[in-house]
Amino acid sequence: MLLELKNVSKIFGSGCNNCLPETGEQADRAICPVCHSVVAVNDVSLKVKDKEILGVVGESGSGKSTLLQLIFQDQPVSEGTIFFNGIKDREGNNCNILELPPARKAWLRNHEMSMIYQNPHLGLNFNFSAGGNIAEKILGAGEKRYEVIRDQALYYFGKIEMPRSRIDDYPDNFSGGQQQRIQIAKALSSSPRLLLLDEPTTGLDVSVQARILDLIKALQYEMGFSMIVVSHDLGVINHLTDLTLVMKNGSLVEYGLTDQILEDPQHPYTQLLVSSKL
């Protein structure tokens, strides 16, 4: 198993004992009625195997992006455990990565996982050139030789079908679709085991979206990483993923094969979501 989440929750606010039981799918709300904390992720457990592609769908505010941020450790987890790729503690037991020392956490973020954000400003440093951004990730993954870093940056720049001559341009000087592609090059340059994508093509026109999705799919096939794709676009989910989980009010309401979720949804909310597709 590459990734396993057990009973993971995220509460924004002071939190109290009522937060988890009083919110979620059954309660049909994400705000605790007692302490008014926001429960973004409520007791979610999931598993992702090697090379598996998991989609996460749900309405705005259902906790999809927060879930990715918890896995990538952009946000501290309130409750629960996360296991990754058989990382063990000294006794040889599977180790909760949330309890790893900061240096190992950084190693996980730089080396084993990568995130592609909807907003390129979150994924790229606009004060660095495109190549500099890619180099930052390669440096973080442990490579220190300038020549190797430059060659690798150029290699991944080629992978995203960008002319090498533009590697020293700043992200400002690229279009939105190109910025997304630079994020992809940066994310893949450390050869991660798990790629997290948060609405990777939202806001792009459909022809650019199609090119980026095809690129992601081809690179996934070639490099064999696992992916978790957050999107509210069921077309993107259908195109990219094998498995899908559906979230509502921070809870996981349905999990299954993507074609089953789309053609035979079980949960009332999933049925509503699928029937809302244009």
């Binding site: 094969l257 053609e263 035979d264 079980q266 509503l272």
Partner: protein
């Protein structure tokens, strides 16, 4: 006949499926119920019956696009433990779809920017076949199905209905599988193309592949099927 041939490849027992429409006041629509049949390697089982009887739903339930309400679908695997397709974990189903169970759907679902040749070669490339070799096999398969070479590079979405269906069949059967489900494989084909497809299915039978196909035409059933199962409302 060896003892192995007596083994069932697939055994469907008391299979039932209904749909609950929560956003339509919880209406329950019965897809099919109490369906029982079994088939062996190298056999083709034909499903027939009136429109709306649940034939396609049965295929989708076996492929796990639909979740069964009741019953079991026992799939016997070569060199692997038997699985119940109605209840095994999703990741098993994904593995089985890649390597063992194929589905030729009624209509071609494909991206508009993929050529016919690439679409047909893809299932082979997906299981690790060299790209050139996969394309060579795709070329052979398309030629065998009577698709003209000048069409290979075009998107099948620009093809006629019959041509699309043949591309769909090519895509569904090109990779080696143990069980293939076919939803009306000859529905929009003329007599000649139909014969070509039936000959191909016969070749698959010779290769010991088990198949379940939906046919409307009684003559085709007599010609190709080893077993015929009638699906009707509340009966089998």
């Amino acid at each position: 006949m060896s003892a192995f041939n007596h083994r069932y490849k697939l055994k469907v027992e008391a299979l039932g499926k209904s749909f609950t429409l929560h956003n339509r006041g919880g209406v329950r629509v019965q897809g099919f119920e109490n369906v029982n049949f079994s088939l062996r390697c190298g056999e083709l089982l034909a499903l027939h019956g009136p429109s709306g009887a649940g034939k396609s739903s049965i295929l989708k339930t076996i492929f796990r696009t639909y979740l069964a309400d009741s019953g079991s679908i026992r799939f016997h695997r070569n060199n692997n433990p038997e699985v119940d397709l109605a209840s095994c974990p999703e990741s098993h189903v994904l593995d089985l779809r890649r390597r063992e169970i194929g589905f030729v759907t009624q209509f071609l679902k494909i991206l508009p920017r993929v050529s016919a040749l690439d679409a047909v070669a893809y299932p082979l490339i997906e299981i690790g076949t060299d790209e050139e070799q996969a394309k060579e096999e795709a070329r052979k398969m398309l030629t065998q199905l009577g698709i003209r070479e000048e069409l290979f590079k075009l998107s099948p979405l620009t093809f006629s209905g019959g041509e699309q269906q043949r591309v769909n069949i090519a895509r569904g059967i090109i990779a080696p599988k143990e069980l293939i489900l076919l939803d009306e494989p000859t529905a929009s084909l003329d007599q000649k193309s139909s014969e070509v497809v039936l000959r191909l299915l016969d070749q698959l039978k010779q290769r010991n592949i088990a198949m379940i196909a939906i046919f409307h035409d009684q003559r085709k059933i007599e010609q190709i099927a080893d077993v015929a199962v009638a699906i009707g409302r509340n009966e089998i």
